[in-house]
């Protein structure tokens, strides 16, 4: 029969917070030679001796741990490990140090609108507006988002990327009449964190008499 061994070392893949209020960590389960293996996530917080177990293994799906608001603190280093155990023994991942302040990756912006405008004095232009992702509380100032948009002609290769800071609208001039453009927007917390995924592609055709 196949030799039965203790599990290999599990690996913590990443931790992310979508709205700077909760966060989730994911791990790659240890291969365990077919034996039933249990994974336990343990963590301690800066300034505390106590070791806690993952508060919620279910909400974020398999091989994950979800920390709700009550279990999420900022400006504090979490020391996180995952232990894999089977009947032959156990093995512990390397420690993963996390300060939730630095792992915020929001959802993409929503409610994107594109509107062609003609003004008498100046050249016609395109107005883009969008809203922050619903989960992100920017109204209270707890989370401040910055935006970047990109566009390119439908058949073009090169994206033109424009950083627009914290505003949620943008006017675009000098678009070529008769061309069809693709537009996307993404966002990131100011200072730290990761860019969101790009929003779904939006298309706008510039009329020939534009």
């Amino acid at each position: 029969p196949k030799e039965q061994l203790p599990p290999e070392k599990p690996i913590i893949i990443k931790c992310r917070s979508p709205e700077k209020e909760t966060f989730t960590c994911w791990w790659k389960p240890a291969s365990a030679g077919g034996l039933l293996t249990k994974h336990t996530l343990l963590y301690s917080k800066e300034g505390e001796e106590k070791v806690y177990e993952c508060p919620d293994y279910k909400t974020a799906g398999p091989n994950s741990c979800y920390f709700d608001k009550k279990h999420t603190s900022f400006w504090t280093i979490y020391n996180i490990t995952v232990r894999a155990t089977n009947e032959m023994g156990s093995n512990v991942s390397d420690p993963h140090y996390v300060d939730v302040t630095y792992i915020v990756q929001p959802d993409p912006p929503v409610n994107i609108t594109l509107e062609l405008k003609k003004s008498i004095k100046r050249k016609p232009y395109l107005v883009l507006t969008w809203s922050p992702p619903p989960q992100a509380d920017v109204r209270s100032g707890w989370l401040t988002l910055e935006y970047e948009l990109r566009l390119k002609p439908e058949e073009g290769e090169e994206w033109e990327t424009i950083f627009v800071g914290q505003q949620t609208q943008c006017k675009m001039f000098s678009l070529n009449p008769g061309k069809k453009y693709i537009v996307q927007i993404h966002c990131k917390p100011d200072h730290h964190g990761l860019w969101s995924e790009w929003s779904p592609e939006m298309y706008i055709e510039i009329p020939t008499d534009f």
Binding site: S73, W75, G141, H191
Partner: protein
Amino acid sequence: PICPNGSVNCQLSLEELFDRAVKLSHYIHYLSSEMFNEFDERYAQGRGFIAKAVNSCHTASLTTPEDKEQAQQIHHEDLLNLILGVLRSWNDPLIHLASEVQRIKEAPETILWKAVEIEEQNKRLLEGMEKIVGRVHSGEVENEIYTPWDGLPSLQLADEDSRLFAFYNLLHCLRRDSHKIDNYLKVLKCRLIHDNNC
């Protein structure tokens, strides 16, 4: 200009004071973050400093909000006092950081310049915050919150690894505290100026 020349008793509005304070806190945190990253890349790789830099900031004794709920529930006067307390607590270490960082072996000009700039801007922000507190405080200003810093000897240690860890830890704490100040000011500005509708 906000205060045209020759105008007497010209007072900035609270909104203008907050606008300037937030711009300054954003800039100070940006510099602190850049300085930490530069130092980390150049001097701290592979030394495991992060594991040691736990719970060792001289301002750790100040009980500051650690999540959104705490930041929203604290009274604005208490949060303003906390911000002042953290800023005051950094006056002394920033003076020494600006001078001691020059003794680090091959310290790049960009780190030196940032240390001096942060010290200067921290003083300006403290002045601005005292104006804001003066406007907002309803009663007598309470006893000043402040935590002393005794880290100068560790910045001057002979052993290079220990000395570099002392700098790492100070820059790690500066990055953390300047981010707290920036975040709290943005929350206060939205609360007091924009009625929580930023």
